[in-house]
Amino acid sequence: MVLLAIPFVFPTWWMITSSLLPENEVLGYPPKLLPLHPQWSNYRTAFAHYPLAHQYLNSLYIAVLVTAGTMVVASLSGYAFARIPFRGNKVLFPLILSGLLIPTEVTIIPLFKMVDRLGLTNTHWPLIVIPVLGAPSVLGTFVMRQFFLAVPDELEDAGRMDGLNRFGLYFRVALPLARPALASVAIFTFLNSWNMYLEPLVYETDKRNYTLPVALTQYTDAYGTHLWNVQLAASVTTVVPVLAVFVAAQRHFVEGLAQTGLKG
């Protein structure tokens, strides 16, 4: 077990330790696994010489908006597909579900053309609106529907007796019960947005508009030489907050992600 755990833990550990080494020691031999004289200036460099703080905010606010938007859209349609017997329900649901099959790459050329025509390249609009309304939110809809199917009818009947209309039933009765499902939708939506790579690469041209995943690769391209310690320092800043939340709310995370399965 311990041996098996090494390749899982080691890269993260090495990322953190190497981010604290001076440049001449990063690739030194023998490998340094403990930074005895941590050099925090790498972190200063990462923030001072690159628009990392700005990119950090980009990633954060985009992920928050996408998560909030997806929770609204997915819970609304998930609820309707599960509990409202409306005409077209049985046809529309499988149709929308087919969005799960479509990798980002398949539709990104037409989407790019659309965004370009609207003059919205190099803005954050496509990174927010398309995930909330397009294929990525379908998984959320599916998870919410599964949950709402299991809500007992008696609860809604009681709500009807109290004179609640459809929206009231959804908002007052079903949604408060759906916290666990909403939490797992929130977790995987946030992670997906936080790790989005192809889309910002395609839509954004200005460095200040980059999100973190694309920004991280810039520490290599700009100079041709790798600034490994600075690049790894920047990487650490993107990983550690998420890891910290993961360790704190581990149960939610594991269940939430396992229920849905992310990209293999």
Partner: protein, 321 residues
């Protein structure tokens, strides 16, 4: 047919039947149905509009573009017939791309599923510290993909950490990401360690669902540990095996960032999987027509795989009914 409308306040007091609203006159039921249709559509409106604009339209458009040449600079689109597809068939890179895509997928699925199952079986022993190990195995899933890939890129260089470690024990490691075969192996391994924790958790849940009584019965019948695992556990968890296989296969077709950061498709297209080839054509060479043809092929592959998996599902999966 009584056309007397029933007022809501009175109708609401009729005894409710599960699943169907309050029973009342047929006129009342018709308005209810109409209300349901209206509110149902209102609820699904955002998602439906989004689906039409950002899924269905682009899907039709990408097929359309794949039969056209589009000049990005002048913005002119001309009909090209099947030229983009014949170009793909005759492209000198195509055999290498096909090989890389298939090998990557097979390697990833086999190693990932076997390792995930192994880890799950180990964690299912209920020894002390399993929670800690579960966290450790799962942690890479949470590490952002690009950071994980950059770290491995750093470790796999010729003078990087992996070779330094090997050097300590007296082995001379290859230049991992530059060797024809070692590059593909490296990319698969990086990907496996990143996401195997997800499949592991799914398998763990499945293993915990195997009834003890069955295992005990098999033991009484004289089945050894391996036999018990093969004849009882494996059939019982086959739905999970199928699910993880599906997720992993479709995931293997979408490894873009990893390839771009680690190898750029090289050396000599040995790691140039289909999605990366797509990106090269569409956004490096700005050939939207050709890129669209590649995207359509990618989509066709996914459709075929999905159909096969549905078929298998009926045959292969053991149902406890």
């Amino acid at each position: 047919m009584s056309d007397t409308p029933v007022t809501g306040a009175r109708a609401g007091t009729a005894e409710p039947r599960a699943g169907s609203g309050p029973r009342a006159g047929s006129g009342r039921r018709r308005t209810l149905r109409r209300q349901d249709t209206l509110s149902g559509w209102l609820f699904v409106l955002p998602q439906t509009l989004g689906f039409l604009a950002f899924v269905l339209y682009p899907l039709i458009a990408v097929v359309y573009y794949s039969f056209h040449h589009s000049n990005v600079l002048s913005g002119v689109t001309t009909y090209a017939g099947t030229k983009n597809y014949t170009q793909l068939i005759h492209d000198p890179a195509t055999p290498a791309v096909a090989r890389a895509t298939v090998l990557f997928c097979l390697g990833l699925v086999v190693i990932n599923i076997c390792l995930a199952l192994l880890l799950a079986v180990l964690l299912n022993q209920r020894l002390r510290g399993t929670t800690l190990f579960r966290t450790l195995f799962f942690s890479p899933v949470v590490v952002s993909l690009v950071a994980w890939t950059i770290t491995w890129n750093f470790l796999l260089q010729n003078n990087g950490g992996i070779n330094s470690l090997l050097h300590v024990v007296g082995v001379h490691g290859p230049n991992w990401l530059r060797g024809d075969d070692s590059a593909l192996v490296s990319v698969v391994v990086v990907q496996v360690f990143k996401n195997v924790g997800l499949n592991m958790v799914l398998f763990l849940a499945a293993l915990q669902g195997v009834p003890r009584s069955l295992l005990e019965a098999a033991e009484i019948d004289g089945a050894g540990a391996w036999r018990r695992f093969r004849s009882v556990v494996l059939p019982m968890i086959s739905p999970t095996t199928l699910l993880t296989t599906i997720v992993t296969v479709s995931g293997s077709l979408q490894v873009f960032a990893q390839i771009q950061i680690l190898t750029g498709g090289g050396p000599d297209n040995h790691t140039n999987v289909l999605v990366y080839f797509f990106y090269q054509q569409a956004f490096d060479n700005h050939d939207f027509g050709y890129g669209s043809a590649v995207a359509v092929v990618l989509f066709a592959i996914i459709l075929v795989l999905t159909a096969i998996q549905w078929r298998l599902r009926r045959k292969w999966v053991f149902h406890e009914s």
